[in-house]
Amino acid sequence: MSDTFLYGIEVVMNGLMAGVLYALVALGFVLIYKASGIFNYAQGVMALFAALTLVGIMEGQVPFSHLINAIFGTNIHHFGWEVPAILAIFLTMGVMVLFAYLVQRFVFRHLVGQEPIILFMATIGLAYFLEGFGDLMWGSEIKKLDIGLVQGASVWFEDLTSGLGGDGFYGFYIDVLDVTAAVVAVILVVSLTLFSQYSKQGRAMRAVADDHQAALSVGISLNFIWILVWSIAGFVALVAGIMWGAKSGVQFSLSLIALKALPVLMLGGFTSIPGAIVGGLIIGVGEKLFEFMIGPMIGGATEAWFAYVLALVFLVFRPQGLFGDKIIERV
């Protein structure tokens, strides 16, 4: 096999892995949209907030220390202890549940039955609030996230495949962290699909998504379901924050990972959990292959726009996305 062909395969493999990371972000959007019809603009910021909270707890950082020091003239920053990663993840999850409760209690409870655009606008406000709140709580410096995840090339896989090509071929490159992310994503998708299809709460979630008022009339607690959904989305945001934060450190830009999820949602559909995964894989492979084959001819850096073009092409044929529910309006 020629080295170019092998490099093409390598690009596809890495595109699949990148697609899984995109899908992890898209999942959070899908969950909330599916259950409440809200396009949650704040999903990217939730990933940032969750990751900031995780690092802050692990390092024993005093929340709001800058504010406390400025008001009281103190000089406190750390409690002086460190928290193990697993415990910190559970505590962070607790914070995200509390966040879900507060969002429901102070924002969406007052917006039941409102137009989707109103709910969307509310999430924009929520995103800006959470951005500033996260900074105030944990500071805006870049933080190293180390929960023991291995990253870097899989030497074993490189050695195993290095014989496939010529002398210039090093073997296929696969990042171990991406493999971990893929495994986690598969577990998440299977669990969430089973939960939404077969559990009582899952069915209630779908009922709420169909019609708030009708769900209320059959005794489903809208408050509980929304808190549940936002908590699950918070957990997905935490997972995405961990995977992306391990690569770049935890910093404001984590909130921008939402940009990577939008074409995935357009392609996979806003209401399908498997759609998020398949959409992510198609976008990941498509943009990487395009950059590999066409990019050098047109100056490179094609990925940011190509993902959207690809999604738009799919939308021409399936406006609801590959797996989205077809919207039928009867008049």
Binding site: N75, I142, L145, D175, E287, G300
Partner: protein, 427 residues
């Protein structure tokens, strides 16, 4: 009623009327947004140095200084709004801290007769004072940086880059594209193959770029990144096991922020630097004593001595020295922006001045002139030691290749002059 109106009018007059004279150094800062982690230490350093001058020396020439801050979030539109909001407050010099904002402010500052200092960023050809009367980019610019970087690689390669492969990995915007003309000219002169690989904003996902690097196996990589792009690039280089001592960033890709997330793997990464690193300078002791301990620091003091904090201090030092020069030249302590501009054009930074400010050996000695607003174009190479968690300079400050850089500056500034009908000055 009349009494109330008279009271209100008096109150308004008292609020807006002149108070004690101040030397105003506006700070266009970005403490929010995707680049906040880089913007905060710079803004803190800039502010803290002037706070130190007020607390320790009673200001500059007996006149207190003020640093009104305006948040740009690294956004060009907001930056221009900040400029418009602050220019009327007696601003002596603007430091926009963004190449995008710089390009917008070049004509505005010229029309308003307010100097602008773009230290190590902005429009490179602004070095030509014959065309750019109010823009200064001393002591170094991006083209100098590219040249110094290539010189270092040449030395590392044993004196010749003939047949070597150098990759420029860059932010796909005006800032990241700045070094391309210089590198193309250097490639022709030195005989190396240049590959240019852009990364789109924000640069959180760089798999394609690093797979290409892994395939093409360049001998050296020069990197022009900012924000999250830096941390991801360093991590990806570690992931593909690229030799870190052959990977070098420009000064905006060479702070603690950029290497810490990658941990031990980042050891050996290099960066081009135009000022010294670390906290082993007398000025930082004074900042600790007069500013941080006094509770008047812009931040919590934890940034003191970091690369970007030091850069803010250096920018403030250069502005303060220009203000002193303006006071000496004009014979008045309460200088205006026009006098500041004249002084920046006559600025001399000597070792004695740096030592007096507690910054001995912090940067190269240089002087500015009507023709040369960019100083000597000298830079050094810094290297990251992951064990000690420290940057250190591994070379002296060395010159760029002026035979390459100067003709490019002449050509670019001449084109700007022709487009904007600017008559050359300094004749």
């Amino acid at each position: 009623m009349k009494l109330k109106l008279a009271t209100l009018a008096l109150g308004a007059m008292m609020a807006t009327g002149p108070v004690m004279a101040e030397l105003v150094f506006p700070s266009l800062a970005y403490r929010t947004g995707p680049f906040a982690a880089g913007g905060i230490p710079f803004a803190d350093g800039y502010s803290d140095y002037f706070t130190l001058l007020n607390a320790r020396d009673g200001g500059i020439g007996g006149v207190m200084t003020a640093v009104p801050e305006c948040e740009t979030a690294y956004n060009t539109e907001k930056g221009v709004e900040c400029y418009e909001a602050l220019k009327g407050d007696g601003a002596l010099v603007f430091q926009p801290l963004s190449t995008g904002i710089t390009y917008q402010l070049i004509p505005k500052t010229t029309a308003d007769d307010i100097p602008m200092h773009t230290m190590g960023y902005g429009r490179t050809s602004a070095k030509n004072g014959k065309v750019f009367s109010h823009t200064f980019n001393y002591p170094v610019n991006y083209w100098d940086g590219a040249s110094v970087g290539v010189n270092h690689f040449k030395e590392q390669a044993g004196g010749s880059l003939e047949g070597k492969k150098i990759t420029l990995l860059h932010f796909n915007g005006s800032y990241g594209k700045e070094p391309i003309p210089t590198l193309e000219a250097l490639a022709a002169q030195e005989g190396f193959d240049l590959t240019i690989i852009p990364i789109d904003y924000p640069g959180q996902e760089q798999k394609s770029q690093w797979l290409q690097i892994r395939r093409e196996k360049p001998d050296y990589i020069l990197f022009w990144g900012w924000g999250v792009m830096n941390q991801v690039a360093v991590q990806e280089a570690v992931n593909i096991r690229y030799p870190m001592d052959q990977f070098m960033g420009i000064w905006w890709s060479g702070s603690e922020n950029d290497v810490m997330p990658a941990g031990a793997g980042a050891d050996g990464y290099k960066a081009i630097a135009f000022h010294n690193v670390g906290s082993d300078f007398a000025v930082f002791g004074d900042i600790q004593k007069y500013v941080v301990d006094a509770g008047t620091a812009a931040g919590d003091g934890s940034n003191v001595g970091t690369v970007l904090y030091n850069r803010g201090v250096y920018a403030a030092f250069l502005a303060a020295e220009a203000a002193k020069t303006a006071q000496a030249m004009s014979g008045t302590m309460d200088i205006n922006a026009s006098q500041m501009r004249d002084a920046m054009e006559a600025l001399e930074i000597t070792e004695a001045k740096m030592a007096a400010a507690g910054l001995a050996g912090f940067g190269p000695e240089f002087s500015v002139s009507c023709e040369n607003h960019g100083g000597p174009g000298m830079a050094a190479i810094a290297q990251w030691n992951a064990t000690d968690q420290k940057w250190s300079l591994i070379t002296e400050f060395g010159p760029s290749d002026s035979s390459i850089v100067n003709p490019l500056i002449e050509a670019d500034s001449a084109a700007y002059a022709a487009e904007n009908n600017i008559a050359e000055r300094c004749n």
